[in-house]
Each structure stands twice: as structure tokens, then as C-alpha cells.
């Protein structure tokens, strides 16, 4: 037998111990929404599909016109030149409109996976970025740290980040809550951002404000007209919570609107807990290296001695 039973047993014990240690290691904590977090509330029952928000978004973000293959050449989905879009759910007579853009999650998957922190919560980038303020919770993209690996596209449960496939120097494109339109002299929410879509909307179907205030407003609307709405605010807890909240008409599910059914915990929390557990904050690799280097060196010495003793 090449490998002795003893060796196998040793291996199994080590593997078992490692798994046990991994299990006992601390899970990564859940992220709570910042008290100053800003976001949007989209009320599908108020939207009339005028698409003023789509056009305004293109305008204020300097995005090119889409030459898409939708009717009238309109874009059919978020893409490398469309950060905001209105879609329609239709099922016979039932009809509802849906506004799609970045959800600005409380614990974003894209931020967790981005290698050099190109996607980051405002103020929390890995490299120092001028003018960013902590607490707003807006998810921003930094072109100097992005390698275009597109892991964020895999990670995002809402499939929000889009990529410029036709460009030799592509970017990741997604809504950034029009942070560049903020009025820094103001101390209210408009000092943090000023989304063009909310400004353009003639029916106030999408409104901008502090997440906490928007959440209460959403709940208030459901309580005031329970026959009008789905009795749930999407984004309150889904995937760890999002800063863009949704209200759906009664009789239309959030899944109908394309919003995935996510558990309350964020994917980032799960993924990081599992991935980091074995590392024990870097102790494991170092200890393992030291042990292995020692063992290999010792084996090497043993062999050298043995062959030194034998005659060839």
C-alpha cells in the first residue's frame, strides 16, 4: 500500500478539526442601514409610464441615446447607456409598471465582491476619494480601481450593473442616485444627492428622501389604502435591505415586477462568513505555512542524512 492507513487517518483528523474550527469561527455581522441613509420610494400604483424619468436620467448623466431594438428604438433593459428604465408587467387585463435602477442595497453584494473597492458605499472606498461623505449609503463606482472583472454582475441579485461590451475601454454603468447633482451648500438630503428621476416625475411616483422617512411613508400609504397596495414594502429587509423601496399594486406580486424573492440576510454576509471562517483573520495560513515548511524541511533533512549514510 502506498499510503498507510495511519496517514489517511491523520489526514481525516486534520480535515475534521479544520471544519470544526471553521464552524466555530465568528460569522460576519449583519450590516444595519445608516441613520442618514438616503434612497427612493417607487410607488407602482402612481406611475403612469410617461418615462420622463428615463429621459431625464440620460440627460443629467450625459448618457447617449439608445439605438436599441425596442419599438421606437427605446432601450428594453438597463444597459451600458441606460441607468434607469420603466418596464411593464402585463397579464391579460392586469397591468403594472416597474422602474428599474440600482437598489443601493444596505449590504451590497457588489461592494463585497469588488476586488479593489471600485464599487463602494460613499465614503468607504479603499482609496481616498475627494468629497465623499459617509452615511448616505449611496453605492458609487470608481473607474480607477475597476478591473472590469464583472464579478459585480454575477453578485448583484437584481442584475443592475451593466457593462460596455462594445467599448475597448469599457466601464461598469449603473445608477448612482445622481450624487453629482447634489447641492453641497444644503444640509438636508439634497446636500447628498438629487436624483433626476425624482425631480422629473410628474406624479411623484418616485420620490427621494431619507430611507427611514420613506419607509414610514410607504407603510402609511399601505395603511391608508390597503385595497390599493400589496401589504408589503419591498426592500425593507430583502437581501439585507435596500435603500430603494417599492410598493406594488394589490393583485401584482413583486416577483411579477421582476424583484427577486430574497431571504432577509444579505448574500454578502453569507459569502464572507463562509469564505473567511477558515482564515481566522490570517492566523491559519501563517500557521499552516510554518508547519508545512517545517515538515518539508525536516523530510528533506531526513532524506539527505539517509542518503548521506548509504553508498550509491
Amino acid at each position: 500500500m502506498s499510503i498507510s492507513r495511519r496517514d489517511l487517518l491523520k489526514g481525516a483528523v486534520v480535515a475534521g478539526a479544520a471544519t470544526a474550527v471553521a464552524g466555530a469561527a465568528e460569522a460576519r455581522e449583519a450590516v444595519e442601514p445608516s441613520p442618514d441613509a438616503v434612497g427612493m420610494l417607487y410607488d407602482s400604483t402612481l406611475c403612469i409610464g410617461c418615462r420622463a424619468c428615463v429621459t431625464r436620467c440620460k440627460e443629467v448623466n450625459g448618457l447617449p441615446h439608445d439605438r436599441g431594438d425596442g419599438e421606437y428604438q427605446q432601450p428594453v433593459d438597463l444597459n451600458g447607456s441606460t441607468k434607469n428604465i420603466i418596464k411593464e408587467f402585463k397579464d391579460g387585463e392586469k397591468r403594472a409598471l416597474m422602474k428599474q435602477q440600482c437598489m443601493h442595497c444596505v449590504d451590497p453584494s457588489c461592494v463585497s465582491v469588488c476586488m479593489m473597492g471600485a464599487l463602494h458605499k460613499e465614503g468607504y472606498a479603499k482609496r481616498h476619494l475627494e468629497g465623499e461623505r459617509k452615511g448616505s449609503g449611496i453605492v458609487l463606482w470608481d473607474k480607477y480601481a475597476c478591473t472590469g472583472c464583472r464579478y459585480c454582475q454575477i453578485a448583484c441579485p437584481f442584475n443592475v450593473p451593466k457593462f460596455e461590451w462594445a467599448s475597448a475601454f469599457p466601464s461598469i454603468v449603473k445608477c448612482e442616485l445622481c450624487r453629482h447633482r447634489r447641492d453641497e451648500r444644503r444640509s438636508d438630503v439634497y446636500g447628498l444627492a438629487n436624483p433626476g428621476c425624482c425631480e422629473a416625475c410628474p406624479r411623484q411616483a418616485v420620490v427621494y428622501g431619507e430611507r427611514a422617512a420613506l419607509l414610514s411613508e410607504a407603510r402609511r400609504r399601505i395603511a391608508a389604502e390597503p385595497e390599493r397596495y400589496q401589504a408589503h414594502v419591498y426592500g425593507e429587509k430583502e437581501g439585507g435591505g435596500t435603500q430603494v423601496l417599492y410598493l406594488a399594486p394589490a393583485g401584482v406580486t413583486f416577483a411579477n415586477l421582476g424583484l427577486p424573492d430574497l431571504p432577509d440576510g444579505s448574500s454578502a454576509q453569507f459569502s464572507e462568513s463562509v469564505s473567511h471562517a477558515p482564515y481566522l483573520h490570517g492566523v491559519t495560513p501563517i500557521a499552516l505555512y510554518a508547519a508545512m515548511a517545517g515538515a518539508i524541511w525536516w523530510n528533506h533533512r531526513k532524506d539527505a542524512d539517509r542518503h548521506g549514510k548509504e553508498d550509491e
Binding site: 502506498s2 499510503i3 496517514d7 489517511l8 433593459d77 438597463l78 444597459n79 453584494s109 463585497s112 465582491v113 469588488c114 476586488m115 479593489m116 473597492g117 482609496r127 473607474k143 480607477y144 475597476c146 478591473t147 472590469g148 472583472c149 464579478y151 454582475q153 454575477i154 441579485p157 442584475n159 457593462f163 460596455e164 461590451w165 462594445a166 467599448s167 475597448a168 475601454f169 469599457p170 466601464s171 416577483a255 421582476g258 427577486p260 424573492d261 430574497l262 448574500s267 454578502a268 453569507f270 459569502s271 464572507e272 463562509v274 469564505s275 477558515p278 499552516l288 505555512y289 508545512m292 515548511a293 515538515a295 518539508i296 524541511w297 523530510n299 528533506h300 531526513k302 532524506d303 548509504e310
Partner: protein
């Protein structure tokens, strides 16, 4: 006649028809790569926002490096567990590893959108997002590529020492032993690094929870990828050594390889046990039924179990060809598992709680450009292997087809390390 032959440079005509064909295939793929750099990734590939990694990440990176894990596996057996009789296959295994990882790293450059920023990665540790599994893979793989080529260095230095040029020979003779003394520390790294990044390659899909089918998505992804990469690696080494025997009359120690394959069998069975236990423990057996996903699931398990039982059968252990076939199956098993986790059971709009894919109207099949680039990279890898083996002492060749004399465990030391 020495009972323990040394590796030697194969020599022979470098640019034979095989080499020329391989380089031609790579040349065509290079054209596609050049086009990709000028016209953007979308111009050559079918990758879209729904299926954003295509085959370049899953195949060129994840599968190729799985094959290259032979270096990891053999190094583990030979140096850590001190099974010195594996020495003769260390060099080819390490060379394959170095090549596969280099191919993986080069493919990544082609696959990355903003590749110029990737060059920054190693030099900006203060920018690293330590939460990212992909960062871990990137840094680890970059380091490991370097380590692997350092592990190839002994062949180069031996070749230098044996060369006719006096300066080159002096260089080889003085640096060879010095490197040999440092080797334990390098080899330890060569075992630590793949442990980390091969499991992280599995960990990459942890965050895509909703999008990967529940039968594949589990907290055990890193462990399963680690186990299956080792079995892919061992299988690849058996395949390699067998092919070398036929190509260059390389030494093919059936008993050695069979022994290694028994370790592989253990790994394969451990993988299947872990996988099934995990699926049952989390109540995911309910997803099995008359559907495509179940078919793929059982195909994978079959591909893992078949070689395991073959490796344990004495008939297969004695027969070169059957061992070769079983080893191929074990490589295929690991490759399929990876392809499935990244592509086959990945759906951009996710899976419903009943295990059905939520329709998303995204579709993907590798484009001409993508296939050509993948094949071209593989061809280049083979070409590099041929080149290095011809020029430097990597492969151990038998003048006559001898029986293996494993007997008392006497192992040739030092110079061939």
C-alpha cells in the same frame, strides 16, 4: 544501468508538424485576442450582461487551473507526506501546473474589461478589498504562478549545468544547490497557495446564491472545489505521464500511478459523500425529479464515482489503458463540476423555490471567438510544454521499458529535486 533514471531534455526537432500546428492554432486565436483589445469584448464573444463570464473565466481559468493542480497534489504527496517515490513525476506535474496557471492568468487579462488596472493589483495592497473572494484568487494565483515557475527552475538550472557552454554550466552548478536548499520554503508556499485559491474559486459562487441552483449552491463550495481540484490534478498527472510514455518513451511506473490513483479514489468518494450528505442535510433532495438539472447532477456524481471504483479495481490498476481512461474520467468529472457551477446551473434571474429557472430571456453559448481563444490557449500550453521538455530536463525517460522496482523505498535525492 541506473535503477533510478534522471530526467533529461528530450531534444529532437523543436518545430515538428505538431508544434507548427499548435502554434498555428494559437496564432489564429491571437488574432481574435487582438481584435478583442481593439473592438471590445462584445465584438468577439457572446458574453452579455446576463452571462457575463462566458467560458473564459470558467474554462480558461477555473478548469485549466484545476488541471494544473497536479503540481499541488503531487507536491503534497511527495514533499509533505514524504512519499519520495513520486519524485520522477514531480517535474512534469509542476511544469504542467506552471503552464496551466500561466494560461489561466493570461486568459484573465483577455477576459477583464479594464485589464490595465489589474496590473495595479499587486502593488496597491491598501486598496485591496479583503472581503472579496476574487481578490484572494487574483493575488494568490499571481503569487502561485511565480512560485510554480520557481519550482520549474531546478529543471532549467540542471539543463544549464549540463550544457556545453562553460559560463552557463557554472551558473547552473552554483545556483542549483542554493535553490535546492530554499526549496522547502517554496514548496510549502506551493501547497498553501493552491489550498487557498482553489477553495476560493469555489467560494466565488457563494455570493451568487439566488442564481446558482440550490443543488450546487452550498457553504461547502470551497471544500468541494478543493477536493475536486486535487482529484483533477492527480488524474491529469496520470494522463500526462501515460501520454509522455507514448510520445517520448517516458518512464511510466504503473504501480506508482495506481497508488496515486487510489488516493484519488479516496478523494472522489469523499467528494461524493460530502456532496450527497450536504444536499440531504439541507433538505434539497426535493429538487430531484424528471428534469434537466437532476440529469446533470447525477451525471456529475456518476463521473466522480466511476473512476473511483475503477481506481480501486485491481484489473484497472494493472492496466495502463484502463487507468488512463479512469484518470480522464476524473479530470472530466472535476471539469464538469466547475462548468456546471459557473454556467450550466447559473441563471441570471435566479431559481424559484421549486427549483425552476425563472425565465430571463438571456441566452448564452460560446461564440466562435471564445471557442477559438480557449482552444488556442490550450494549444499554446501544449506547445510550451513541448518546448520546455525538449530543452530542459523535465521528463524521465526509460532507455528500455523496465519493470518498476519499488522495493525498499530507495529514492534518488537532491539533484533531481
Amino acid at each position: 544501468m541506473s535503477a533510478h533514471p534522471h530526467p533529461r531534455a528530450i531534444g529532437g526537432r523543436m518545430f515538428d508538424p505538431l508544434m507548427k500546428t499548435l502554434l498555428a492554432i494559437f496564432g489564429v486565436s491571437a488574432l481574435f485576442m487582438a481584435y478583442r483589445f481593439t473592438a471590445g469584448i462584445g465584438a468577439v464573444s457572446n458574453m452579455t450582461d446576463g452571462f457575463t463570464w462566458g467560458i473564459w473565466e470558467p474554462i480558461n481559468v477555473v478548469v485549466f487551473t484545476g488541471i494544473g493542480a497536479g503540481a499541488f497534489g503531487v507536491g503534497l504527496l511527495c514533499y509533505l507526506l514524504n512519499e519520495g517515490r513520486y519524485h520522477p513525476i514531480v517535474r512534469p506535474a509542476v511544469l504542467v501546473g506552471a503552464i496551466c496557471y500561466t494560461l489561466g492568468a493570461s486568459s484573465i487579462v483577455v477576459a477583464l474589461g479594464r485589464y490595465w488596472n489589474a496590473l495595479l493589483l499587486p502593488v496597491v495592497p491598501h486598496w485591496w478589498n479583503l472581503a472579496s473572494a476574487l481578490l484572494e484568487v487574483a493575488i494568490c494565483v499571481m503569487a502561485y504562478v511565480a512560485v510554480l515557475w520557481v519550482e520549474v527552475l531546478p529543471s532549467v538550472l540542471d539543463g544549464a549545468a549540463a550544457s556545453s557552454s562553460p559560463r552557463w554550466s557554472a551558473f547552473g552548478r552554483s545556483w542549483g544547490p542554493r535553490l535546492a536548499r530554499a526549496m522547502p520554503f517554496i514548496i510549502a508556499l506551493a501547497i498553501l497557495l493552491p489550498t487557498m485559491h482553489q477553495s476560493s474559486l469555489g467560494g466565488l459562487m457563494l455570493i451568487a446564491g439566488p442564481k446558482v441552483h440550490p443543488l450546487w449552491h452550498t457553504a461547502l463550495l470551497p471544500a468541494l472545489f478543493l477536493i475536486s481540484c486535487l482529484s483533477m490534478g492527480y488524474g491529469a498527472v496520470v494522463v500526462l505521464v501515460t501520454l509522455l510514455r507514448y510520445a517520448w518513451s517516458a518512464r511510466h511506473d504503473q504501480k506508482l500511478l495506481a497508488g496515486m490513483s487510489k488516493v484519488n479514489a479516496g478523494l472522489l468518494i469523499f467528494y461524493v459523500a460530502l456532496r450527497l450528505a450536504d444536499v440531504a442535510w439541507h433538505g434539497k433532495l426535493r429538487y430531484l425529479g424528471w428534469n434537466f438539472v437532476t440529469f446533470v447532477f447525477f451525471l456529475e456524481l456518476a463521473l466522480f464515482l466511476a473512476p473511483a471504483f475503477m481506481f480501486l479495481s485491481p484489473g484497472v490498476q494493472r492496466n495502463r489503458g484502463k487507468l488512463f481512461g479512469a484518470a480522464l474520467l476524473s479530470v472530466l468529472a472535476g471539469a464538469l463540476y466547475r462548468a456546471d457551477t459557473y454556467m450550466t446551473v447559473y441563471r441570471p434571474a435566479g431559481w424559484s423555490s421549486t427549483g425552476e429557472a425563472i425565465p430571463s430571456a438571456w441566452q448564452y453559448f460560446p461564440s466562435l471567438g471564445e471557442t477559438v481563444v480557449t482552444v488556442g490557449m490550450a494549444a499554446l500550453g501544449v506547445a510550451i510544454f513541448l518546448f520546455v521538455s525538449r530543452k530542459f530536463p523535465v521528463v524521465v525517460v526509460d532507455a528500455t521499458r523496465e519493470r518498476s522496482t519499488l522495493g525498499g523505498g530507495r529514492i534518488r535525492a537532491a539533484q533531481s529535486r
